[in-house]
Amino acid sequence: MAIQNEDRLKDVDVIQDNFESQNYICSLEIATAVFLAYHLEKPVLIEGPPGVGKTELAKTTAELLDLPCIRLQCYEGLDESKAIYEWKYGKQLLYTQVLKETLGEILDGAKGLAESVDKLHDFGDIFFSEEFLEPRPLLKALKEEESCVLLIDEVDKSDHEFESLLLEMLSDYQLSIPEIGTVKAIPGKKPLVFLTSNNTREISDALKRRCLHLYIPFPDANLERRIVEARVPDIPPRLNHQLVSFIQELREMDLKKVPAISETIDWARTLILLHTESLDADLVRQTLNVILKFQEDVESVQAELQGLTNRALKTSQ
């Protein structure tokens, strides 16, 4: 298994091909990142505008390597009890109850307080033990026996302090639980970690320093055409050309939210559904809400729609 994965990530070209077979078309930079992450055993921090396939990269990698993908979605207020571990309080309480009832048996025959305390100590303390531990995604990823892909999604949405919780995990692949000790990843089975960020706030230097940093920009026309082709195989090449050049033009405009790859794909699917052979202004107007998510944007694009469409048609001839 591990050997197989070694092969799958042997060099950058192989990675690119393998990803392509998973319908994920990636640039050289992305393939390099995966290569380095695997061979240097370092987490990758992926940044870039929404919808360029950051999360998808982690999922595809997991699929490619036949590993489970453990996902931790970050949000404001996420803390260790949801990300690392939690005690099973109910069971712990029950345990104390049970302990109380059997106290007589345990202390049977003990003379004096000192002896009782000794006996109690001998009985062993499992109040804080793995029995009562509820592992959350981070801990789960460490304990995974066949390694795994850990996806920490939208890490910028979490609080500052949560970042510091991640540091130990990211640099040493271990987690410290005060009551129990340190849990380490099984040697050679370290999880492959991906963090994604939409840059809503600056990630701290401490975290960045522990990661490889991959910035995924919007793809160029060529790459985007290949992506659409891979994701929407039914699309006629001519329409693909037109659609991609139209989207690329849109990205040059000053919009509140420019369409990302995921929107391009959605649009391609929509057009296929409508049995479209070629773009025209009316059709674009009707389907504009697939690619633009703000009314302002729709309005400002509509004003220039004819010109945009014509240009897209021209460049793709």
């Binding site: 930079e29 390099t32 380095l36 240097l40 990758v44 104390t96 230097d205 960045k208």
Partner: protein, 489 residues
């Protein structure tokens, strides 16, 4: 490998000079990376290092730039070998130094032209000259024509050390150091030889003279590259630090326009630093949630009955800052500056309200939000600036418009010289503000000795402030603002 690692250290130094933050740990990562991937594939190397060393889009751009400049050497070695392979056109002996190789390639091409088409290498072309080539006599000349470019590089480095090129501080010294190194290497001997040869005028002599001259030009270019690299490595960094330190100490009013960009950067950096301290405080803020773990722990001693409930710690309020800036004629030099600081601060810190006045108070918070720094300052100065000062009027305006928003969490900063043109100072209003606000801080650009001279009312205002400070350089300002954050949170 160690040599590669040394190269890496140099490269990291270059990156740091270019303001890419690279930690030692990342340097180690980079070394691990090159151990893994090697130096062969340049594009691959660039992509990989870019991921390891530069951690945001801006840094990536800088990285790219640095990489292109730093690793040019790698690029031109294959180029030179390619050239010597197609050595039909009699390559100059030191062609390796110049990947393009145009000037020497052309001039020597005449000589090689005669034997063109069959020559297998530089030497063979050389042999087909119809005269006995002369050997150079000067030391430098021999070196240059010896085809030993490593030796030449070493000699350049040695000469560089001898003249202390790593002491280079400003770019205008580049020419000077280039000449110095050339001289150190024995330029004079070479020049004399060339002159002698030309005087002689024979064909072999002229041929040699031409070759020597070409080599000399190439060498000069190389030396210049060397100096450039040294400058890049040593001067940029120290020069920049020097400038920043100087600027920090210079009085605000003396700052000239041409320094404005730099100052802006410092202010921005400082504001960033402040907000960093600041947001750390914010981290103690948690939602009012039940802290199950703490509660259980705490209640264990009560037999597990949960009656001593623990909450996650309470929210800490951020300070609300209101800043009133005097932009009248007397302090206009300072106020431009203070406004700039205020602008940067407002960018990184929410809840900053900014006001400006000469006599009538006006709020400029919106203006700051909408415009970029230059426009915002220009507009502020246009609307409120350069009138005669009336602090009394300002305070009255403040009372009627803003005072209702002031509460125990508000910090009020007043920037001004308190020179009231002998008008009514209305210090009782400031007293009201003092009572209502958490803190009132007055920053006065004038030295304390001038606070009661002439029309200055500072002596009357000072008792109504929690803090009244002299503030006329960036250092002062930094200290004051740092205090502000420490005290109020």
């Amino acid at each position: 490998m160690t040599q590669l690692h040394d190269t890496m250290v140099d490269f990291v130094k270059v990156l740091r000079t270019a303001d890419v933050k690279v930690s030692p740990a990342e340097t180690l990562d980079a070394m691990e990376t090159i151990d893994l991937i090697g130096f062969e594939d340049r594009q691959f190397l660039k992509n990989s290092l870019s991921m390891v060393l530069s951690k945001n889009p801006e840094e990536k751009e800088t990285f790219e730039h640095c990489f292109e400049r730093f690793f040019t050497f790698e690029k031109f070695q294959p180029a030179s070998s390619a050239q010597s392979e197609k050595s039909q056109q009699d390559q100059p002996d030191d062609g390796e130094f110049n990947p393009e190789g145009d000037p020497s390639g052309q001039s020597n091409g005449q000589g090689g032209g005669q034997g063109g088409g069959q020559g297998g290498g530089a030497e063979s072309a050389e042999q087909e000259l119809d005269f006995e080539p002369r050997d150079p006599t000067s030391e430098l000349g021999q070196l240059l024509l010896s085809d030993n470019h490593i030796e030449v590089l070493i000699r350049i480095a040695e000469a560089g050390r001898a003249v202390g090129v790593n002491q280079i501080v400003v770019f205008t010294q580049k020419g000077l150091y280039t000449r110095k190194i050339m001289e150190e290497m024995g330029l004079k001997g070479l020049q004399d030889e060339v002159a002698d040869l030309q005087e002689d005028g024979g064909r072999p002599e002229m041929h040699l003279a031409r070759r020597l001259k070409n080599s000399r030009d190439l060498l000069r270019e190389q030396v210049r590259d060397h100096v450039e690299k040294q400058f890049f490595l040593h001067a940029d960094e120290s020069g920049k630090q020097l400038r920043e330190e100087l600027l920090k100490k210079v009085k605000l009013s003396n700052l000239e326009k041409r320094n404005f960009k730099d100052v802006q950067e410092i202010v921005y950096k400082m504001a960033k630093k402040l907000i960093a301290i600041h947001s750390k405080r914010r981290k103690t803020f948690k939602r009012g949630q039940l802290d199950v773990r703490k509660t259980l722990r705490r209640n264990m001693k009560y037999d597990g009955m949960l009656f001593d409930v623990k909450w996650k710690s309470q929210k800490v309020d951020r300070p609300k800052v209101m800043c009133i800036c005097d932009v009248s004629g007397s302090v206009s030099n300072y106020s431009r500056f203070l406004l700039m600081f205020l602008y940067s601060l407002a960018e990184v810190m929410p809840k900053v309200r900014a006001f400006a006045f000469s006599s009538d108070l006006g709020e400029v918070t919106k203006l700051f939000e909408k415009n970029n720094l230059e426009d915002a300052m220009a507009k502020t100065m246009r609307d409120y600036g350069n009138g005669s000062t009336d602090y009394g009027q300002m305070l009255q305006d403040f009372k009627s418009n803003v005072l209702k928003d002031v509460n125990g969490k508000t910090t009020i900063i007043i920037l001004g010289d308190a020179r009231n043109n002998y008008g009514d100072p209305h210090q009782e209003i400031l007293r009201d503000i003092y009572d209502k606000a958490q803190r009132v801080i007055w920053l006065n650009p004038e030295p304390k000795s001038a606070w009661s001279v002439g029309d200055a009312e500072m002596k009357k205002y000072a008792p109504c402030c929690h803090q009244a400070e002299v503030c006329n350089s960036l250092m002062h300002l930094e200290r004051v603002v740092a205090n502000l954050l420490r005290v109020t949170t």
